[in-house]
Amino acid sequence: MLCKVDKVIQETPDIRTYRLKFREEGMMEKFTYLPGQFVEFSLLGSGECTFCIASSATRLGYFDCSIKKAGVVTADMHLSLEEGDEVGIRGPFGNWFPLEELKGKNLLFIGGGIGLAPLRSLIQYCIDNRNDYKDFTILYGARTSDGMCYKDEIREWQDNKSLKVVLTIDQPEETWTTNVGVVPKILEEVVMPVIENTKVITCGPPIMIKYTIQSLVKLGFADKDIITTLEMKMQCGLGKCGRCNIGSTYVCKDGPVFTNEQLKSLPDEF
C-alpha cells in the first residue's frame, strides 16, 4: 500500500510526525486499527522500519506516525521524506491496548520522549470516548523542553478541564517553570496516583520503563494493571523472521502491548 505524506510536523529537532493519507481512495476505510498497533514503513531504497501509529482511528481520514532520527532508514526519512512524497505501508500489525478492560477505570498515562507516540493514539481514542473513563492523568517527561513532542496537542490537553497533565524535564532549564526530575521521581512525588481502580499505561525508553514499573509496584499497583508497549527489532511483522522473539513470544504478533504480569513471565532479557 502506498501512502502519500500529507503533512510533516517537525516536533523536535530529531522527531518528525508524518501525517499520511492513502494514495488510493477508499483504502482508509479498509485500514482499521486500534491504539497500540504498529505499521511497517518502507522507504524505497533505504529499507523497512517499524513504527507505531500515533493517532487514533476515531480521527478520520489520516493517520500519524512520529519518527525519531535514530538509524539509517529514519535518518533517510528526516533527510528526504517531505510532503507529497510516497512511502509504502504494511500493516497494521500486533495487538492493541485492552480497551474493554480500561472502560470505567481511572487512567494514568506515563510517557517518556518519543514514547508518547503510542500513548497518544490511546489518549486520542479515550478523549474521543471521554464518557467511558473516569479520572484521566497524563504524566509526560522528556530530557529537555525542546525534546517534547506534540507541543500543540499537549497545550490542548492542558486546556481540557477533564484531563490532568503533568509535564517534567530531566534537567532544570531557565524557561521551565514546572516540574524537574526523572519520571519515576515525579510519579511518586507530584502525581501521587490513586491506586484503586486505576490502570497505568506506560511507554518510553527501556530504562525509563524499567524504573517506572519499579516505582509503580512500590506504590502498590498490581502487575496486571500496568500496561506497557515493548520495542524490539522487527523486520517482517508476520511472526516469521524470528527477530522479535522473547522466549516463545513473538513481540510482533503477541505484542507489542504487554501487562507487567505477562512481562514477568517472559525470560529476563530486557
Partner: protein
C-alpha cells in the same frame, strides 16, 4: 610435535601466580582426534589443554572477543599466529602487557586427513616471533627465496574465461555466512564495511555477485597483512579455496614491492602502509 605437558605446566604456573585471567589453548574436540580452541578461566581446567600437530586454529582470533578484552590473557601461538599477533600489536588492537605468549617452534600442522597443510609446507617463519616463552628448538631458517604458490601458478597459466568460470563457481558456492571474516584474527573492525546499511553500498543479499563483492573486498582489505594462517579456509563451510585470493595478492606484492612477510618485524605495518618512489608506475596512464 607435542607440547601438551609443557603448556599445561605453564598455564598452571600462570594461574597459580595470578598472572592471567584467561588462557587460550586447544583441547580435544571430544569425538575424534582433532582439536578445538578452548578458553580456560581457572587452574582446575588446565588438564584439558593439549598441543600437537593437530592444533590448527589461530588463537589470536580470540583476542578480539569480549571474553578476552581488558583481561590478562595467556595464549599459545605458532609461527603464523605470532605474525598475526604482531600485526594486532602494531595496529594497537591488544596491549602487550596484558598478554603472556607461549611461542611454539612449529613443525607444521596437519589437516583432518593427516596431510601437512599446504601453508605449512611453504612456511617461512615457523618459529614464533612474539613470545614470552619459546617451546621447541628454533629452526632459524632465516629468509627463504619466495616461491609462488603452486595453485596460483596453475591458475595464472589458464586463459581468462576459464579463470572467470572457476571463480564464478567459487562465488556461487559462497553462502555468505561470514565465517571467514569472523575467524580471521586481522578482521577486527567493530562493523565491517560490507555490512554498511546504506542501501547504495549495502550488500546484504546472498547472491553470487554479492559474494563476489564481499570476498574481493575482504581479501583486498587483508592484502599485505594476511599471514597465511588459513583460518578462513578451514572455517569455510563450503570449503572454498579462499587462500587463492590472499596468495595472489601476496605474490603481486612480493613481485612488485618485495614485501612478502607481514608481521615478522614488530612495528611493521604491512605493504599498504608504506610506499617507495620506485614502485611500478607503468600500468598507469
Amino acid at each position: 610435535m607435542n607440547y601438551t605437558k609443557q603448556i599445561q605446566e605453564i598455564a598452571a604456573k600462570l594461574f597459580a601466580e595470578g598472572k592471567i585471567d584467561v588462557f587460550v589453548g586447544y583441547r580435544m574436540n571430544g569425538f575424534d582426534d582433532n582439536q578445538v580452541p578452548v578458553l580456560i578461566t581457572g587452574p582446575q581446567e588446565v588438564s584439558r589443554l593439549v598441543f600437537t600437530d593437530k592444533s590448527v586454529f589461530n588463537l589470536v582470533n580470540y583476542l578480539k572477543t569480549d571474553h578476552t578484552r581488558r583481561k590478562r590473557v595467556g595464549l599459545v601461538v605458532k609461527g603464523c599466529d605470532s605474525r598475526s599477533l604482531n600485526l594486532m600489536l602494531t595496529e594497537s588492537q591488544v596491549k602487550r602487557e596484558n598478554l603472556y605468549v607461549v611461542g611454539i617452534c612449529c613443525e607444521g600442522v596437519v589437516d583432518d586427513a593427516g596431510r601437512k597443510m599446504q601453508n605449512c609446507t611453504e612456511c617461512m617463519v615457523p618459529d614464533a616471533v612474539v613470545s614470552d616463552e619459546l617451546l621447541g628448538t628454533p629452526s632459524n631458517i632465516g629468509l627463504q627465496p619466495y616461491a609462488v604458490n603452486p595453485d596460483i601458478a596453475v591458475l595464472a597459466e589458464k586463459p581468462l574465461p576459464e579463470r572467470a568460470a572457476y571463480f564464478e563457481e567459487v562465488f556461487e558456492n559462497c553462502i555468505r555466512c561470514n565465517a571467514c571474516r569472523h575467524s580471521c584474527p586481522l578482521c577486527y573492525c567493530a562493523k565491517c564495511c560490507i555490512d554498511q546499511e546504506t542501501a547504495t553500498l549495502y550488500n546484504g543479499a546472498n547472491t553470487t555477485s554479492g559474494a563476489f563483492h564481499a570476498l574481493m573486498t575482504w581479501s583486498l582489505h587483508l592484502a599485505g597483512r594476511c599471514v597465511d594462517c588459513r583460518n578462513c579456509e578451514k572455517a569455510c563451510p563450503s570449503h572454498l579455496p579462499l587462500h587463492l585470493l590472499h596468495k595472489q595478492n601476496e605474490s603481486v606484492i612480493y613481485e612488485n614491492f618485495q614485501e612478502h612477510l607481514a608481521g615478522v618485524i614488530p612495528g611493521d605495518r604491512g605493504a599498504f602502509y608504506k610506499y617507495s618512489m620506485q614502485d611500478p608506475d607503468d600500468f598507469i596512464m
